[in-house]
Symmetry: none
Subunit: 141 residues, 2 copies
DNA sequence: CGACCTATGTATAACCC
DNA sequence: TGGGTTATACATAGGTC
């Protein structure tokens, strides 16, 4: 998503997709490992995709198993709460994206105005510096 | 871990530790969400630490849970089409926003470069138009 | 693949409000 | 607490070997 602009969409090239997956997974596992040391918070991860037969877990199965089973046993109300949380997360992401978009668009307008000012400014300089004889060199294009 | 070198160790200040946790969790969830779109790989996360009563999961993904636990009695089979449709809709919205953001940022950079070019250009004009006698008016500031 | 490189976008610690 | 800003380190796409 960096060197060149990359769509936030499925990477079409299967080879590149896999490379990206490998790199990103490494990054995610590293990031997910850090809170344990820094913040006294454990983060376990389950990965499930076409590159493995089964979902697999980090840092170990037990923790994740327990948690998932626990989650399974939660009464319906609790589960729907979880879903709400997930949706809230998504909605916040959307909100944030829209804010960023607005902000960048604003900056964009400012820069556009600056450019236009420069253009007008330069045109004026040119006109001010010219005298009628300069037009002798002009041809109709 | 950035502004200053930070120890890769428990953050002593409880307040800072929590702030760090909040920020990092947000980052981890975002990173973990991306492979789904980019690489067709699902990443689920389990977090458990002192800031919540129980471990909780993101994105609480039914498919992953189902496959992982391999239990037939998961009540999540009643996933309504409605919900899937809505999630897809939401994801498309996010995708679109991401694309727009990238596009506008790109335009932004172009305009910035244009501005800089103008600045350099104007400076050169000024210098080219000057002759040594002009420096007589300069004072040391 | 994986290891390494570079350029660039991203995450985040410290800060402020 | 939670939000925004800034400076800096990190993550990663693309490339090469």
């Amino acid at each position: 998503m960096y060197r060149n602009q990359v769509n936030y969409a499925l990477i079409e090239d299967a080879s590149k997709r896999r490379v990206s997956y490998n790199k990103r997974l490494k990054g995610i596992l590293k990031k997910s490992d850090e809170p344990k040391t820094l913040c006294d918070v454990e983060v376990a991860t389950v990965i499930y995709g076409p590159y493995r037969n089964e979902p697999y877990t980090f840092p170990n199965n037990d923790v994740v198993q327990n948690t998932f089973i626990k989650s399974k046993e939660l009464p319906t109300l609790e589960r729907s709460k979880n879903k709400v949380t997930r949706e809230e997360f998504t909605m916040q992401r959307i909100k944030k994206l829209e804010e960023q978009l607005q902000k960048v668009r604003k900056e964009n307008r400012v820069k556009e105005m600056t450019n236009e000012m420069y253009e007008v400014f330069n045109r004026k300089i040119v006109l001010a510096d010219m005298n009628p004889s300069d037009f002798n060199d002009l041809y109709v294009v």
